[in-house]
Symmetry: C2
Subunit: 361 residues, 2 copies
């Protein structure tokens, strides 16, 4: 596949770093018929990936359609820049913090990514072909990211069964501090609070029932990646920790003064929010197709996908049809029929001229 062509059913992929995520990308794309080349700084791990069937071969395929950099954070920017300099395919990464990487790598053929799956485990041994099925895979295109780059990575992610959600790198970093980084640090802190009562440690352990086990499970994972994450996402994490500390102080005050109404409101709002956490993509959604004429310029498609994310419209499928004449094309998106009008009017307000056609179930 070259730039400008749609992703073929069976493309080729280069994976740098064959841990849990890199290995799962390999297993998943091999299952879809792709040719997978993989490399790891640890040769034993690379050979294990080969044995497990996560790669067809060990090495560097500079002609790969797509390169995923799935190493620890410290090596991502350099390896992405090398892949961009030495090959002509598109490049993405799977780092947990996007701002610093996207700023360092900014390139027409690069789009940052972050699959929201598998964070508690590490190592190729935990890799699975279905790791990303139904999972959200965040894409964070930069200012110069070409439409074709974005579309190619998006299509590859879809081949792994993941659902692409597009947003700016900085917003990603703020939001994951809320739903991932600070919860992880909090789990570790709750665990240590129980553990620091050394006189009653064993009793405390035996009192720890299902709820406590659920809440602290993530703290059992390796601490290594969290050092890099906390380093890279320092500002957002500190801001979210401040907010958590402030909110816990409010709860403490409510408990101290025995304000049952305020406590009930707090717990009830949390209950409703938790119950409403979506558990997957609905299978029986009525669909609609939006066609949006666009200029062929960097970031146009990514900008529209980000706009859709902003207004809570999920794009199930996305395609770019290029005009044979001039610098214009048509962006074709499949969305839930009931949300099509919301997206159409938001695009119209932004100066686009979209058309909508409803599909049957």
């Amino acid at each position: 596949m070259g730039l400008g062509a749609p992703v073929a059913d069976a493309g080729s992929v280069q994976i740098q770093g064959l841990g849990l995520i890199g290995g799962s990308i390999g297993l998943s794309l091999r299952a879809a018929g792709w040719w997978v080349t993989g490399w790891d700084i640890d040769e034993l791990r690379a050979r294990q990936a080969l044995r497990l069937g996560a790669v067809n071969e060990i090495g560097q395929n500079r002609h790969a359609d797509v390169t995923f950099v799935a190493t620890p954070a410290a090596a991502i920017s350099r390896l992405a820049q090398e892949a961009l300099a030495e090959g002509n395919g598109v490049v993405s990464d799977v780092g947990s913090v996007k701002g610093p990487i996207c700023a360092a790598v900014e390139h027409p053929r690069f789009v940052g990514g972050h699959p929201m799956a598998g964070s508690e485990q590490v190592g190729i041994a935990g890799a699975r072909a279905d790791m990303f099925g139904g999972a959200v895979w965040v894409l964070t295109p930069g200012e110069t990211t070409l439409d074709e780059t974005y579309a190619a990575v998006r299509a590859t992610v879809a081949e792994m069964g993941a659902e692409a959600v597009t947003m700016p790198p900085d917003l990603h970093d703020t939001l994951v501090s809320v739903v991932s980084h600070v919860p992880h640090l909090t789990a570790a802190t709750l665990m240590r609070l129980a553990d620091e009562r050394t006189a009653e440690r064993t009793v405390l352990q035996r009192l720890a029932a299902g709820g406590f086990r659920d809440m602290t499970r993530v703290a059992a994972g390796s601490s290594d990646i969290w050092l890099d994450i906390c380093d890279a996402n320092r500002l957002a994490i500190c801001a979210s920790l401040d907010r958590l500390i402030e909110a816990l102080g409010d709860v403490r005050e409510v408990v101290r003064r025995g304000d049952r109404d305020a406590l009930q409101l707090h717990l009830e709002q949390a209950r409703v929010a938790r119950v409403n956490l979506p558990s997957g993509i609905p299978s029986d959604v009525e669909l609609a197709v939006l066609r949006v004429p666009v200029r062929d310029r960097p970031g146009e498609v990514a900008r529209i996908a980000t706009l859709a994310t902003d207004i809570d419209v999920n794009i199930y499928d996305l395609e770019i049809a290029h005009s044979t004449e001039g610098d214009r094309g048509v962006l074709i998106m499949v969305v839930a029929a009931e949300l099509a009008e919301r997206l159409r009017s938001a695009l119209a307000a932004d100066g686009y001229h979209p058309s909508v056609r409803h599909l049957g179930i």
Copy 2:
């Protein structure tokens, strides 16, 4: 069964309140051949319990060997006092906070209790006969609790497959604030933090992967019982919240100044503590029997069981053999062989004269 006799294989039990815990006690003891009478302020719920087989009959059996009060916290003390006044069996409860109840009910035939299971659900529909299998059931005898009361409730709890752990009411309340109450309030607070970003609420929900779901699962439960819990355990909860807020502030400072060593230490100690959370009772433990001559006076047996908890010795079985002459008896306990000497010397240091006999596997 009268006081002073061992619990028969098939005893009779009165259950006040047929929700999740009351219903599960009924199902569990009926499976063990007990005669179960149950009552609930909500007649529909009582009839549902009868239909589900959680009780043999609806009503009040004032001759029951054991009465469990399993109503919401506000009604426990009054119903326990009524059962003590109108019957002559032993009485226990399942309230989540023990200090206030044990202070109010203090009676030779009463021992407070708290099964550490099933806290996230409510309602008779969730009741299960195996709810307490392998779970810890805390017993909190008071100053005047008779040995026979303690032993009878302990034996009943064991019939349900639970493991009794004995401690003073106040220590229980402090420890559950650490492993249950504050984690619950924290889960609700984390959930609301994600929810209060209304502009990105839907995106945040979709970013919420397994770890966040695990951490906030308890927040999906009904908020009703938590109002009573926070009321009754206010001091311990506020103290533990203060400690959590302080610890999170420390973590924030570590992240802010990029202190990787301190962060790694924090996460690594949490990881080790979480990995070491025991997951059940070992099945292949070599056992020993301790025989301890005791005076027949209130609380003697409970005091020894509490001592065992203090020094992390789990009592697998416990029996009181009464002397036919005078006011002395023998307490017979089964413990892990490797811990028998620890318990023996602790008892000796307290003025007891225990003997130890090892059993084969």
